[in-house]
């Protein structure tokens, strides 16, 4: 399988990841070799085999439910303590919607 630099840039865009031109060409080579190996899975017939989303869960369906009771959560100040730009009790970001 061939992975082009154009494909790499498209996927990087989906992943919100800035890559330098050098990283793009290196990534194309690495992805091609790894996906080339991974593609061997196509040789295996898995028709009729169920997909495993959860490897193990031994409890009943409702076992993880609890009473819906009010209880303390992380205080606003603690939640914002690591924010690069807090303000007014919120996470500030560049403007998204123009007025």
């Amino acid at each position: 399988m061939k992975i082009t630099e154009e494909q790499v840039r498209y996927v990087a865009d989906l992943a919100n990841l800035r890559l330098t031109p050098e990283e793009v060409s290196r990534m194309a080579r690495d992805m091609e070799s790894i996906l080339g190996h991974i593609d061997k899975l196509n040789e295996l017939d898995t028709a009729g085999v169920p997909a495993m989303a959860q490897v193990l869960f031994d409890a009943s369906e409702t076992a993880t439910l609890r009473a819906d009771m009010e209880r303390p959560t992380l205080p606003n100040e603690a939640a914002l303590a690591n924010a690069p730009q807090p303000g007014g009790g919120f996470f500030k970001v560049p403007k998204v919607i123009e007025r």
């Binding site: 494909q7 790499v8 996927v11 990087a12 989906l14 992943a15 919100n16 990841l17 800035r18 890559l19 330098t20 990283e23 990534m27 690495d30 992805m31 070799s33 790894i34 996906l35 190996h37 991974i38 593609d39 061997k40 899975l41 196509n42 295996l44 898995t46 085999v49 169920p50 997909a51 495993m52 989303a53 959860q54 490897v55 193990l56 869960f57 031994d58 409890a59 076992a63 993880t64 609890r66 992380l74 603690a78 939640a79 303590a81 690591n82 924010a83 690069p84 730009q85 996470f91 970001v93 560049p94 403007k95 998204v96």
Partner: protein, 481 residues
């Protein structure tokens, strides 16, 4: 006391005999760790204040004549992907270089409740992605056995501190072998428990269907004690298991007569190496202890690497989406737009291996590829899991190598990510099936490098796994043969 060789049992009797206090032990451990760390870079930081407070609490309990817990006074290192309230947790990443978590992971909370003393945070591959600890943004860890070699990864720091003696036990995390492989490379014991046995609340997520927290120690008993302290249902992690936690110490009787051990033929085919010979000598030792040995087959093994690297990268690309410059400390230049802020922050913050896995994961999950990759891999995962269930219908435990080779040199495999991925073959299957597995020292190669033997048992059969490993260790390991 010889701090580098202390065991949990030794600490318990030392405290009881008043040979030292928990505070004295803590201070000695911190001083030793501070002095030795420049050799290996295994600690990213020491948590002096927190450690001293925990040690003082143990001493106060002992002074009142109370039970100070299973881990009373024991110096513990915690892998830096496990959050510690008020103590910086970086995940080995520039992105989280200044991140100070507002809460404790359940495993940390529990080990402290059992009297454990967290003395520092252990270096690791960035976001636990890697097999050599060379992907840490804060420099690689060196293997204490041979400083020119890697300690393995991704929990390289957690293995190295235990081998070096700068912690008695440690916590690591394992998604595809990140506890067992470094344990094997550094000559210590490393345990990956059953999926869900230990709460992941506070473990920074890498691949959620595969992530585990588990212990390292210099002997089997110590890992069993640490696991016992942290295991069990936690309301904060819906995937944590309800099964009661046994008293593992009671299982380690030394008697393994009649235990049925399977050797998966797929794991030994083509293993014509010193590593293979050592594992087979280990198997001979188990036979001498009264185990019955038989060959079994796990035919889906050849598909495991592909299956694993689809699932883990897909889940990683999703889990790492949260590092976007909004919530966690690092934010890059934004050119006035939200999109540029996301892209630049992630481009600046993530190292090469994280970028590679985010890209692979995004690719396999992208439009039109889901069925061909992720869904296909989940079907293959069912086959791999069925293989183990079939094998455990015939035997009590499986014995295999941990890694195809002992610790390699720093830099030796950095340029070939596929080769690095392929070396995970013996460890990823246990994670895919969610079964408990561990690495126990099995002699040294002629180079002087340690080799680990992997033991795997069925879901929640940690007690049987510990019994076998401890009997092996107690009888001299590979030399009992």
């Amino acid at each position: 006391m010889d701090i580098a060789k202390l065991t949990i049992d030794g600490i318990r009797s030392g405290l009881k005999a008043k040979a030292f206090s928990a505070r004295e032990l803590c201070d000695a451990a911190l001083a030793f760790a501070g002095a030795e760390n420049p050799k290996t870079n295994a600690y990213l930081m020491l948590s002096e204040a927190r450690a001293r407070a925990a040690a003082d609490a143990v001493d106060a309990k002992l002074a009142r004549g109370e039970d100070a817990g299973l881990l009373a006074g024991v110096p513990v290192a915690v892998k830096d992907v496990i959050v510690t309230k008020g103590v910086r947790t970086t995940c080995g990443s520039r992105l989280l270089e200044k991140f100070v978590p507002p809460y404790d992971a359940t495993a940390v909370e529990r080990l402290e409740a059992a009297g454990g003393v967290v003395i520092g945070k252990a270096n690791c591959d960035e976001f636990a992605m890697g097999s050599s600890n060379e992907n840490s943004a804060f420099g690689p860890v060196r293997n204490p056995v041979d400083l020119e070699r890697v300690p393995g990864g991704s929990s390289g720091g957690s293995a190295a501190v235990v081998a070096q003696g700068t912690a008695v036990v440690s916590l690591g995390s394992d998604t595809g072998g990140s506890i067992r492989q470094p344990a094997s490379f550094c000559g210590v014991v490393g345990v990956t428990p059953t999926y869900g046995r230990v709460s992941r609340y506070g473990l920074v997520a890498f691949a959620s269907s595969l992530d585990h927290i588990g212990p390292f120690g210099r002997n089997v008993r110590d890992t069993a004690a640490l696991l016992e302290a942290i295991a069990g249902r936690d309301e904060m992690d819906a995937t944590s298991a309800f099964a009661p936690v046994p008293r593992y110490a009671e299982a380690m009787t030394g008697d393994v007569r009649g235990m049925k051990i399977g050797l998966p033929k797929e794991y030994f085919a083509g293993l014509a190496s010193e590593t293979g010979d050592l594992i087979l000598r280990g198997v001979e030792a188990l036979k001498k202890l009264g185990c019955e040995i038989k060959e079994v087959s796990l035919p889906a093994t050849e598909w495991a690497i592909s299956c694993y690297y689809i699932i883990c990268t897909a889940e990683a690309s999703s889990n790492l989406a949260r590092y976007d410059g909004v919530k966690y400390t690092l934010r890059s230049e934004d050119s006035g737009t939200l999109a540029a802020m996301y892209r630049n922050t992630r481009g600046d913050g993530f190292g090469a291996e994280c970028k590679r896995r985010i890209m692979l994961g995004t690719y396999v999950l992208s439009h039109g590829y889901y069925d061909a990759y992720y869904l296909k891999a989940q079907r293959v995962r069912t086959l791999i899991s069925r293989d183990f269930q079939n094998a455990f219908g015939e035997v009590d435990a499986l014995v295999t190598p941990v890694s195809p080779f002992p610790a390699f040199k720093l830099g030796e495999k950095l340029d070939d990510p596929l080769a690095m991925y392929l070396s995970d073959i013996y460890t990823i299957t246990g994670d895919l099936a969610g079964i408990p597995c561990m690495s126990v020292p099995c002699g040294t190669a002629s180079s002087g490098l340690p080799v680990g033997m992997q033991i795997l048992t069925n879901h929640f059969q940690e007690a049987a796994m510990f019994r076998l490993a401890e009997a092996f260790e107690r009888n001299g390991g590979v030399d009992a043969a």
